[in-house]
């Protein structure tokens, strides 16, 4: 192997080792070395947030389908109620204080 190749190889190896060691070199004595993981509460909030987004997205899609004529008026009326209810439930589960406002909006009018 030529000297150039050797030098490049050594430099590469050094760079690799440094890259791998970097987190330990930057923080030799950190306050906490624990991996960030969601608490039980956060996990539940996340699932609820996903449910809320799902319900809201489904409502939005229903509105769109209705506006473009794919869903008839009677089908819309049949489907929108349960969807609004589940959206309201999801919102309520996430933010109990906002409940009152959203329940009003969800009432069929």
């Amino acid at each position: 192997m030529t000297t150039l190749a050797l030098a490049l190889g050594a430099a590469l190896a050094l760079a690799a080792v440094l890259a791998v060691a970097r987190p330990f070199l930057r923080e030799p004595a950190p306050a906490s070395d624990a991996l960030a993981e969601p608490t039980e509460l956060e996990r539940r909030r996340l699932t609820l947030a996903e449910e809320r987004d799902r319900a809201l997205a489904a409502l939005k899609e229903l509105e769109f389908d209705h506006r473009t004529g794919k869903v008839s008026d009677e089908d819309y009326r049949r489907l929108v109620g349960p969807l609004r209810r589940s959206a309201a439930d999801a919102l309520r589960a996430l933010e109990p204080r906002a409940e009152a406002r959203h329940v009003h909006a969800a009432r069929p009018g």
Binding site: M1, T2, A5, L6, L8, G9, L12, A13, A15, A16, A19, V20, A21, R22, P23, F24, E27, P30, S32, D33, A34, L35, A36, E37, P38, E42, R43, R45, L46, T47, A49, E50, E51, D53, R54, A57, A58, E61, L62, F64, D65, R67, T68, G69, K70, V71, S72, D75, R78, L79
Partner: protein, 650 residues
């Protein structure tokens, strides 16, 4: 310099091994700095693989024949572009390309999600675990950096590989194949970290779509290559190596759809885990088929020792995925159920079942020779009729579903509403069918059905755009606000173009063959072909002999074609030069092959008239457009997602 290449690959091996071991430890013991260190190992592995690749590229460019690989796949007279493409022209180099793309993708995925959370912490060792196999092969089993005393000249490149497709087709395929590793790694990471949320789907949606597009376009490039270069008149032969790319693509198509159901309704969690593992497994199986020579294929036949290693790797992947999914089954219980068999969820489910059934029947056809050899001691194989039958049985309903799906509402569609939305497409389909039968297209039932179903789908897609535009006011605003949906519709239009093109060029093509002396002519599908004269010319590394064929329709001259053959002295081989006329009337091709040119000047001319075949290639362009639309970042959606996941790290 070969030493540097070897060293760089060894470093890669060490780094991904570290990512696997240290990453697993970090995730299990919840050590933040160790997890970050494992992430950095993945990033560094890309750098080292890049260096190794650079060494090979330079060696190829300089035609450094002391590299065994360079000597085997290039020659001094080989044009530079093709010499560079020899990178992926052989076993060792193509493995290196795979590793390069894998470490590149892994680095990108890690970098984009680099906050040190537990999902990434578990994904990193999976990425390392996949990369370690390829690094192992490259370091200890099949190295591109073997050296030997340099011969006078290299072995050269097979003439059929000396064309622009060699530059585009393999890398494109690899961008697709390897891309399926990322969703797999995140899915397994989610299972390992016991996460029940959909974060991994949100993170990998674009990866899956991009990989799927690359794989699809890569296959179309390969098909086009076979069509214009190999020149037997077709573009797909159900060869195991071709099927090797089709199977993961079908599984990925199914996954793309079923993952939408999980996003919208929280259903099919177990199915999606299994499907992403299947897609990934099939991509590895695909490259195993291509390399190992274990199945008789026109593309390869050598019994490579790599085959055993790959098989072992596939077994490990299978055991790991199935075992992990089984262990986490309780976590994957869905809360919502399928409400009605007439709903969009149900049509997606039918679509999935058909796609997976098609992929599995192709898989069966591919491994059948191996199974019969193992069981009976006698190798039996299936061919075109087998594949065509199942392509029609599963593919035609799939085509129809593509038109039905968008018309059906989520959750539960009332049959009455369905009837109303179906009217226009159904009428279009029936009208088309009747018109086709009246004009003689009834000669092929699958062809007729394909066209009729296509009319249904086309009408359904057009209606979606018309209705949507009416509701939003402008087409641009419609697409901009519903990128995924309308990008998806454009992709469906691409599939439609593909289906029509395939149906036209196979079910309704005309093939004629005749021996002609100069001055003589033959007829096919209303065209007349008159053989004029032979001519020869010398190119950089070949000698080309071609025949002048005048093509006319009735009395008017349409074009002049030059089918012929080329001789490559270095490689001592002959290659077919087909001559194709793209007919604007039928969107099809008039395809001529000089099957044989005898010493006394007699031309064996084979003519294929293939209606609508150019729709197949057009489909590739439409695919890209549709995917770009669907992939396009949406600021509104991104904000919503960021807000949803703000509290919870990756």
């Amino acid at each position: 310099m070969a030493g540097l290449g070897r060293a760089a690959l060894l470093l890669t091996f060490g780094l991904v091994a570290y990512a696997l071991v240290a990453g697993s430890l970090a995730a299990w013991r919840r050590r933040r700095r160790l997890a970050l260190s494992a992430q950095n190992a993945i990033l560094a592995s890309f750098a080292t693989t890049l260096v190794a690749s650079g060494v090979l590229v330079v060696a190829l460019a300089r035609r450094d024949l002391s590299f065994v690989y360079v000597a085997q796949h290039t020659s001094r007279s080989l044009p530079l572009g093709y010499a560079l493409s020899a990178f992926w022209g052989g076993q060792e180099g193509s493995l290196l390309l795979w590793l390069l793309v894998l470490t590149g993708y892994s680095s990108l995925a890690v970098w984009l999600n680099r906050r040190s959370g537990e999902l990434l912490a578990w994904t990193v060792p999976v990425l390392g675990g996949v990369a370690i196999f390829f690094a192992l092969m490259l370091c200890f089993v099949s190295s591109p950096f073997a050296t030997a005393p340099a011969p006078a000249d290299g072995a050269g490149m097979v003439p059929s590989l000396q064309n622009p497709y060699m530059l585009a087709h393999p890398p494109m395929l690899y961008l697709g194949y390897v891309g399926l590793t990322i969703p797999f790694a995140f899915a397994m990471g989610a299972l390992l970290s016991k996460r029940t949320d959909e974060r991994w789907i949100v993170l990998t949606r674009r990866w899956t779509l991009a990989a799927w597009t690359f794989l699809g376009v890569g296959q179309l490039l390969g098909a086009h290559w076979a069509y214009v270069e190999i020149g037997w008149g077709g573009y797909y032969a159900w060869d195991p190596v071709e099927n090797a790319a089709l199977m993961p693509w079908l599984a990925a198509t199914a996954f793309l759809h079923s993952v939408m159901i999980q996003e919208k309704r929280g259903m099919l969690k177990v199915w999606n885990m299994a499907l992403v593992a299947l897609a990934f497994g099939l991509s590895i199986f695909g490259t195993f088929l291509t390399r190992s020579g274990v199945v008789n294929s026109i593309h390869s036949f050598s019994q490579s020792p790599l085959g055993g290693w790959f098989l072992g790797f596939i077994v490990v992947i299978a055991i790991f995925s199935v075992g992990l999914i089984y262990l986490r089954l309780p976590l994957l219980r869905a809360r919502t159920k399928l409400e009605s068999l007439v709903s969009r969820e149900a049509t997606f489910l039918y679509n999935n079942l058909l796609l997976v059934a098609l992929a599995l029947t192709i898989l069966w056809g591919v491994v059948y020779p191996l199974l019969t050899q193992a069981v009976n001691g006698e190798t039996r194989s299936v061919s075109k009729p087998y594949y065509d039958f199942f392509l029609h049985t599963f593919g035609l309903p799939l085509l129809l579903l593509m038109g039905i799906g968008p018309l059906v509402a989520w959750r539960r569609a009332s049959l009455r509403a369905l009837g109303r939305t179906f009217v226009v497409p159904a009428v279009a389909a029936v009208a088309t069918g009747v018109a086709l039968i009246a004009t003689g297209f009834g000669s092929s039932t699958p062809g007729l059905l394909a066209y009729t179903f296509s009319a249904f789908v086309a009408a359904s897609i057009v209606l979606e755009f018309v209705r949507g535009r009416r509701a939003t006011g402008s087409l641009l605003r419609l697409v901009a606000r519903n990128r995924r949906r309308y990008g998806g519709y454009v992709v469906h239009a691409a599939v439609l173009s593909l289906a029509i093109g395939v149906a036209g060029s196979s079910a309704y093509q005309t093939v004629r063959e005749q021996a002609l002396r100069p001055g003589q002519s033959m007829e096919a599908a209303g065209y007349t072909f008159t053989y004029g004269a032979l001519s020869t010319r010398q190119l950089q590394n070949s000698q080309e002999t071609s025949a002048t064929v005048l093509v006319s329709r009735g009395r008017s001259h349409v074009t002049t074609l030059h089918p012929g053959k080329s001789f490559y002295p270095v490689e001592q081989s002959l290659s077919n030069d087909v001559s194709i006329y793209h007919d604007p009337r039928s969107l099809g091709d008039v395809y001529t092959i000089a099957d044989g040119i005898s010493k006394n000047g007699t031309l064996q001319l084979k003519v294929l008239v293939k209606p609508l075949v150019n729709l197949v290639w057009l489909a590739g362009l439409i695919f890209v457009v549709g995917s770009v639309v669907a992939l396009w970042p949406d600021a509104v959606e991104q904000r919503r997602l960021d807000e949803r996941y703000a509290a919870v790290p990756v």
